[in-house]
Symmetry: C2
Subunit: 336 residues, 2 copies
Amino acid sequence: MNGKNKKILLIVKKIFTKHKLNSNHARISANAIINAELVGAHSHGLSRLKMYCDRIKKKVINPNPKIKIKKISQSISQIDANNSIGFVAADIGIKQAIKNAKKTGIGLVGIKNSGHYGLSGYYAEQAVKKNLIVFCFTNAPPAIAPHGAKKSLFGTNPICFGTPTSSKIPFILDTSVSVINRGKIRVAAKNGKKLPKGVALDKFGKPTTDAKKALTGVQLPIASFRGSGLAWMVDILSGVFTGGNHGGKVKDPFDDFSGPQNIGHLFFVMKPNLFVGNYNERIKQNIKRIKRLPKTKGVKEILYPGQNKQRRYKKNLNKKINITANISEDLKKLNA
Amino acid sequence: MNGKNKKILLIVKKIFTKHKLNSNHARISANAIINAELVGAHSHGLSRLKMYCDRIKKKVINPNPKIKIKKISQSISQIDANNSIGFVAADIGIKQAIKNAKKTGIGLVGIKNSGHYGLSGYYAEQAVKKNLIVFCFTNAPPAIAPHGAKKSLFGTNPICFGTPTSSKIPFILDTSVSVINRGKIRVAAKNGKKLPKGVALDKFGKPTTDAKKALTGVQLPIASFRGSGLAWMVDILSGVFTGGNHGGKVKDPFDDFSGPQNIGHLFFVMKPNLFVGNYNERIKQNIKRIKRLPKTKGVKEILYPGQNKQRRYKKNLNKKINITANISEDLKKLNA
């Protein structure tokens, strides 16, 4: 990271410390936010900083949580995050899942009483860098209407899967089950930009390309009943199963300060060589076969999930993070 | 099941016995095929019987396999199915995963050297009926083009997830990651019916609604790069990870008799009460909240995945299975 971005990182850390996070938690949270900027996920980066601080001030994020880790078995752990900032709960959770998997081959960690943790791929990457296969599930505030309903209930509920590739660039699939993610709609609304067709309905159930109307309306799941089923699955795994909120009860972090979010996360981690001795060789072969397929017109290279993000990251690492006027104002006020 | 369907079941069992499957393997396979008919998945039912028998005759399914179960840990098992008929490998696999989960909370079973096992949901249901949460992954012969490619490589690679619901009807999401499943295209081709738009490309990479052209062309994944990523994930989990074929190497069971399929399956099973004491109460609440949402025009009830199938099953249970002319001929020839 270049000096300018390091400076921004330190400012964010300082802001979190001012908001009563301890130095370690502030570091974890600042790193996650700056990483989102560097991978180009601006909707999960600095634009959320004010929201996190507001939630701390209004006591719906606990800056000084007593996080409990309960051992269920050598492989399975449960974490009660005591309404910590989501970044910290997820950081502890993925590290525990990695530890369990290194010991027994598989690690399963359920987290409750957490909050929005940013990008699933950020945690998946931690496991993959330790040469592990990983699933991360989390739910989120209502954004998608279940198939047949005209009201949002599911979050954009990402499915995130990661695996080592034998190269330095991990395979990280981190896909929301909405046609486009809510963060992008939020950014479009802020910048007054139109949405593509087929992405959202307004609050009356009518198709819309107006980002602001989409935010108060309904996002559409990918592939109708299939995407709706996948969103439901993620709600069950991360909410019903872990002890987190579920079934539309996760509060919107931007709009609803009436209590903590109590989001649930589920991390599942496996050693790649459980069944084969040469996983790295096999995955290398797999990727090679797919990359050498004949391409459709205009496509230069078939990319695996995560490759594009890694390229953006590398490119952005030595550029200064773009600080918009809104964010600049946020930083000044929060740092005052 | 009524007497007429029981008679068909016995004929199918007898056909498998004639093809050198032992009585137990013939029973398992016949049950799976008849179940597919009863849930209305005709593309996975009797229309495949001849294919299975052909593969046995041509020695690419082993009627007398030495199936090895290797214990990796209390939770993890590996199965080498020795090119058994897929139904048998999957039946042994799910039972082992259930056993492991009952003992330790989680069961992970990787299966290699297997073949097409029919419907994932059929095995998921076995776990759910034992009050367990379950994932089933399997790969399949090339049908879907990776995002950016104009040649098929991924199978329709279903994602299957099941959970108890506290009612008699389990939640079983069993969704291929192609817009429509290959079996349906096969049936449309047999019956000379057109496909909807946006489902497939012909072998030259041009959109087509001709089912026969689609079979030699390319199926499209749901949600473009998202669906392509999910298909890739399933190929990695069920092929690369387990020791099965992957990266487009699974042979088409109908067209390619040059060797066994060596499909891989991965089953992952969990106790629902690992993190909460009242899972059944929680999932009941979850479903209730979703079902009472306001519905879009024309929708009478919001259904969870698996409900529709269960209704078809109940309705079909006392009707005679529809034996088409083609299938009637197959049955006669195979039973001769």
